[in-house]
Symmetry: C2
Subunit: 407 residues, 2 copies
Amino acid sequence: MAELGISDREIAALVRPVRVRPDVEPAEVFARATWTGIAEPGDRAAGLLVTALGARRALAAVIGHWPVERIIAEVDPAARAGRAALGREMHDALARWRPRVNSAAAVRALQSAARIGCRLVVPGDDEWPGGVDDLGVHAPLALWWRGQPESMPAMGRSVALVGARAATGYGEHVAMEASAGLVDRGFAIVSGAAYGIDGMAHRAALASNGVTVAFLAGGLDRFYPSGHDALLGSIVDTGAVLSELPCGAAPTRWRFLQRNRLIATASQATVVLEAGHRSGSLNTAGHAAAAGRPLGAVPGPVTSPASAGCHRLLRDYDARCVTNAAEMAELLEPGGAATAPGLRLGGGEASPEQVRVLDALSTRSARDVNDVAVRTGMSPNAVIAVLGVLAVDGLAREDERGWLRRV
Amino acid sequence: MAELGISDREIAALVRPVRVRPDVEPAEVFARATWTGIAEPGDRAAGLLVTALGARRALAAVIGHWPVERIIAEVDPAARAGRAALGREMHDALARWRPRVNSAAAVRALQSAARIGCRLVVPGDDEWPGGVDDLGVHAPLALWWRGQPESMPAMGRSVALVGARAATGYGEHVAMEASAGLVDRGFAIVSGAAYGIDGMAHRAALASNGVTVAFLAGGLDRFYPSGHDALLGSIVDTGAVLSELPCGAAPTRWRFLQRNRLIATASQATVVLEAGHRSGSLNTAGHAAAAGRPLGAVPGPVTSPASAGCHRLLRDYDARCVTNAAEMAELLEPGGAATAPGLRLGGGEASPEQVRVLDALSTRSARDVNDVAVRTGMSPNAVIAVLGVLAVDGLAREDERGWLRRV
């Protein structure tokens, strides 16, 4: 990586401690690590460039001041329509990126990561959460993570439980039940480690000895919120904490919003447990829906502002109403054991005629068939047929005076 | 009506006190009154016969022991497919009806009705609730009613509010707010006068000086439930209480289920406010959906069994989630004033770039454009453009040291 003034040997030394496996060449990993400090999360131009050139050559293009024409010739060799727009996009992107290209920052981020046991996963690794690739050009270029490598594949069968920071006791109770119930069914729990619903979802998963994964909006050297330091430490011990920002990066509102797209796509379904009318959880829900992931919302009292966002999702965004862990699991496995039985529009198990005949019988006064026929408005023959069935079922009986209801 | 052994003059005298207007000939009205005591609610064969022959000739066919062949020749003169099935249906129906043909009972029902100010409305009357005609061959043949004639057309702009007898304080509160809010918007409230949600919906409508209409499952000479005697009396004073059963008929389970189809179709939309997992309100909801009426369900805590039925309607039956009177009104008038604004998936009113730049500014430390460009990952030119907008909006300001956030 001569362009950055760092030797391949130095790069190999920097990369080694943050990698689980050495399959990808160190210079590519180093370049991806560097990109996480250059492009803001979700940067489309960075996604296009890195996909087309690889992280290393893409970085060389920025550092080497390649002309825009050369870049778009590589990104779009077929010279399709929209080339002019692509040219403008790359021109603007280069102007964004150049002030941030800083080899010292990249080296510092890797050194900080190594110090705290923070590692880097890149596309193609076994530990890479494949779901985020559905973000296409907006997918993360690499993910920093702290935790247990074996927890990463668990995201392949996971549900995101998200919700308001200002949760109510009701919301936290439901989050706890949902998280524990999903863990019991073999799902990992993905969330954002915020106060309120997120925290409760993580805690209940830990208490149930489940795998739980938190996505943060800043570098993993300083956990946010700091009040969840101990919780995040516990997640690191058994699951994983991830971020696409390098050590040293502060969480910003933009990064929170982009972090939400990772929660929504790294998991297979998203459930919003409580959310105010304009809660950030609706942003996560929007990302899940955009990525074609099943979206569930837990209803609550209409008198509770903390459920207003969930009701908006049910009303206006086709979220599925989910009321317990079984129904949440069903978002992923329709027709599973939790499938609701058909709604009986009649009165319970009995047929309409049986209802009518039972209505017309008394437990005390015996009635003859003609009397029952008049009371039910059914023909005597039909009454006899139904009485036979009811007798077999133990619901009616005949004595010498006539027919009686047993119950 | 020689067949019944009653003279036309006697019939006219019996019918006069129960009619608001004399447009339909007395013998036809008398026959419809008689039919309400012969056929159980929703009897398809009765609907077919009365539609084809008129109530009077249909009655004559039953009394005169017309052969089934003659009856089906009149019901289905085009001799379409299914004639054999129709023959069997009519054969069975005649066997049902004959034991109930009883002129004395019809006369008694009319006399009882006249005594208590109960009247009869038939299809074609101005007071007939046209919505029930959507039931086709299952439509009522006539409706007994007590109340104010001017309240009957109000059903043309009405919402059915139904729910569990075993309502919670939450459910009753929401029912009260919904009913009062719908009355304020000019809707009549239709319900079933049961304990719990129904009763609260009626009471709140009365308290708001609105029109409310109750459908009962038995004769109007004895109100059911008797604990709602006073409530039903108040509804009679300002609105209407209706039933398709004649005076003297007891409510049965079958009649409750069939009564629900009238609530669902006499109104323009049905809202279920609270309902257990197998509540009878789900039956009303099923009738509303079958008739193509908009169906709303009010969510509640997932921990409340009294809301389980509402959540089933949201999950499995495409009911619309409604949380207040405005949203209930919107079931009937989509795109009305209550239409929800588009969900903002971003962070409030600001554009993504504005969010990023605001994040990068401080209220205390002034920062120059290049600094902000690095912090945001945007190009300096883009930062300058966004800062200009933020300055105009009063969100950022520039002093001699650089840029600052104002709020």
